[in-house]
């Protein structure tokens, strides 16, 4: 009989599932247009390159965390860069995760107010979503882990629905296969910050995982591989079905592609509504995970007993920014900021910290 007892620590495979299920969120829906308008019919190639790049970032984070097995990022940075710079880097880490929560809230509530609850005020939707996220985050880790494992099953359903877009597939839309627009493809990679979200929480979650025979890099790597394959096939099917130019012209291309599917008979209609509902669990997981990582990171860093103390601290800010960016121009600026800070943290700060760790280790060995 399966052991259903809740455990405080997770296995390496559970860590992989947790990180994977937080990657696929409603954030990607609004990011598809700008990304495909850069990469055009080779959007799939851009997604494949992005998968490699973002896994590289996650790999570096795991390697960094492995140097301090029982500590979170807030605890070990001061020993590397000093207290002041440590505090700044920890603040950047918190901002990256807050940006993920805000982007998720903005993307999901916009979607719901357009397609599900017509013209319901954004403020109310954000409040409801935050109430649900806070309720999830105030639980202890083992409960959160159990909830994530249950909601994880929403992701295959999401992809099954998405796969129906194949019905409108035309291979002509994917031609030419020759990549004549390398810069566009690379620009498309940058927009994938909306496709790979919340994996930064690894820096707090690693001490919560048991170190066994299976390495974290492998389990998280499998998760990234699955998600990257979903994105690559997703890009192929979407461009093949509604063309790159049409994707660049619509606000929610994935929803538009889903709206183009009509199954024979009348037993099931408005497929896009089902798909939006299946985006809710993934987005919720990512938000809870990021918020838990913030609260747990602060708790460990500031030596508090309970992570719940820090949950109300960030709520007004999340609510205010989520509502504030409900304006195309502000949203655009915020998207650029999100992209910049995510890249800066993953590809500048983390490699730098890892370099400092290795240098310090080298010195210690020489001594």
């Amino acid at each position: 009989m399966a052991n259903l007892e809740a455990k405080g620590k997770m296995s390496a495979w559970q860590l992989g599932i947790v990180i994977t299920s937080g990657l696929l969120t409603a954030r990607l829906l609004t990011a598809t247009s700008p990304f495909v308008s850069c990469a055009q019919q080779l959007a799939w190639l851009s997604s494949a390159l992005a998968g490699v790049l973002f896994y590289l970032a996650a790999y570096l984070m795991i390697r960094l965390g492995q140097q301090f097995p029982e500590e979170t990022i807030g605890e070990y940075i001061p020993s590397l860069v000093g207290r002041k710079f440590g505090a700044i880097i920890f603040l950047v880490f918190i901002i990256v995760l807050l940006v993920n929560i805000i982007n998720c809230a903005a993307a999901l509530t916009t979607l719901v107010s357009i397609f599900l609850l017509d013209r319901t005020p954004q403020e109310f939707l954000v409040i409801v979503l935050l109430v649900a996220v806070v309720y999830g985050t105030v639980q202890d880790w083992r409960t959160i882990l159990r909830v994530i494992q249950i909601l994880f099953f929403g992701l295959p359903m999401l992809y099954i629905f998405y796969s129906l877009i194949w019905l409108n597939f035309d291979p002509l839309n994917l031609l030419p296969l020759w990549p004549d627009n390398f810069i566009g493809i690379l620009q498309g990679v940058a927009y994938h910050t909306n496709y790979y979200t919340g994996y930064e929480s690894l820096l707090v979650l690693l001490p919560l995982a048991n170190r066994g025979k299976v390495s974290f890099t492998r389990t998280v790597g499998w998760g990234f591989l699955v998600i990257t394959l979903i994105y690559v096939f997703g890009a192929i099917v979407l461009v093949g079905s509604i063309t790159a130019k049409t994707i660049a012209s619509v606000e929610q291309p994935v929803i538009y592609g889903m709206k183009s599917v009509e199954l024979p008979g009348t037993f099931i209609e408005r497929l896009e509504n089902y798909m939006i509902m299946f985006f809710i669990p993934g987005t919720y997981i990512s938000m809870v995970l990021s918020y838990f990582a913030i609260a747990e990171g602060c708790r460990k860093s500031l030596k508090y007993k309970d992570h719940r103390t820090f949950i109300p601290v960030f709520l007004p800010l999340i609510f205010w920014v989520s509502v504030f960016i409900y304006d195309p121009q502000r949203y655009h600026v915020f998207q650029n900021f999100s992209m910049f800070i995510a890249f800066f943290f993953s590809f500048v700060i983390i490699p730098l910290l890892l370099f400092l760790v290795w240098r310090k280790k080298g010195r210690d060995q020489q001594c």
Binding site: T120, F124, I127, V128, L172, A248, S260
Partner: protein, 410 residues
Amino acid sequence: MLSRINKGNVTARVWRIAAAAIGICACLLTTGCWDAKEMQDRNFILVAAIDDADIVKKSESEKQIAQTQTFVQKQGTKEYMLSLQVLKLAKTESKGGVQAEKTFVISNTGKPMFEMVRDMLGQSSKSLYFEQLDAIVISEAAVKKNGLRPIIDFFRRDPEMRSRTKIFITPGEAKAIAKYSPPTGEPGGVYLNGLVRNHKKNIHVGGARTDFGYIIQAMDNDADYAILRLDYVDNVPKLGGLALFKHDILMGYADEYLTRGVKFTYGTEKSAVIAIKCPEHPEQEIVYELFQHDTKLIPHIEGDAIYFTLDITMQGNIGEIDCTVKHDMHDFSFLHSIEQAVAQEVSQNAQDTWKFQQQLGVDIPNTKARFKGRHPFEWKKIKDRWEEIYPTIPLITSVNVNIRGIGEHD
């Protein structure tokens, strides 16, 4: 100690009750219930018909248009007449053996479309709901006025619209089609939608890749496209042929023969009935029923010469033989001669359609995208001259026909 525990329990219970109360209040305040609209509180639009207002005015009384089908507008013009076929959700009872109509039509004149739609709420007790829109019918005169884009822009932008909505061009009056009440008792929009669904068995109807979503995609990609032609004469709608568009402009119509050719070239036919002359009795006909096919339209370059090859493989049955003399259908040489005659007919049809499109300057099978896809480097060299080159590109056809069966009873 006990009192401390009790105190702690009470506090926890108060917090839980407070949290539950906040949750319930949040649900009451934030779900869609406050603006919920039941089905019977909506007016479902089934057909949107767009006409040139000047031409409709000539066929209706000026007084009627002036009073109920127009509005004062500071911006915009009175160029179009928009007629919406609305579904009656209340049960309709027949009077004197005559079945009551299931729909009614409201109209308005003006431009832009969205303003007209909102003004039409003055003729409707319930909100107008476009998610069940079955058909958009546009008159030829309306399209010729400013092109197609301004007419369908509202339908492109509104999130209520569906991609798979059928779209038609009619040489006559679109409003008359919106008013049409089918003898089957179905609402008019559902009937029109059903007509298109039969394209899988009717080679004269180009139902594949001609709906609203595909038209928008073609517009986004600067490609040419075809829209179904719908004629309405003596209260009978008839679907057949295609209206061919270049960019936004109606260039002309393809008749049933050319529509068949478009479907052969494009590879969108699901089934076809091809009549040929009997190889032994040329004054009589034999009918080949196609049920499976494979079409490949491929661009080639030899030196500076560009040409396309069209390879078609067809599988089908003998559907009908009109000869007065009975043929030996087990004679393989006779069957082979039928196969060759069908192949010749299909090849000729494809060639005629290709030339017709070249003369008209339209490119429905999207040869431009096919060439660009297969030969991206050569495309860069000639893309600016494509409009000159396209009419000169030859098509080499190769048709392979197989007869699988000779029918149920010879």
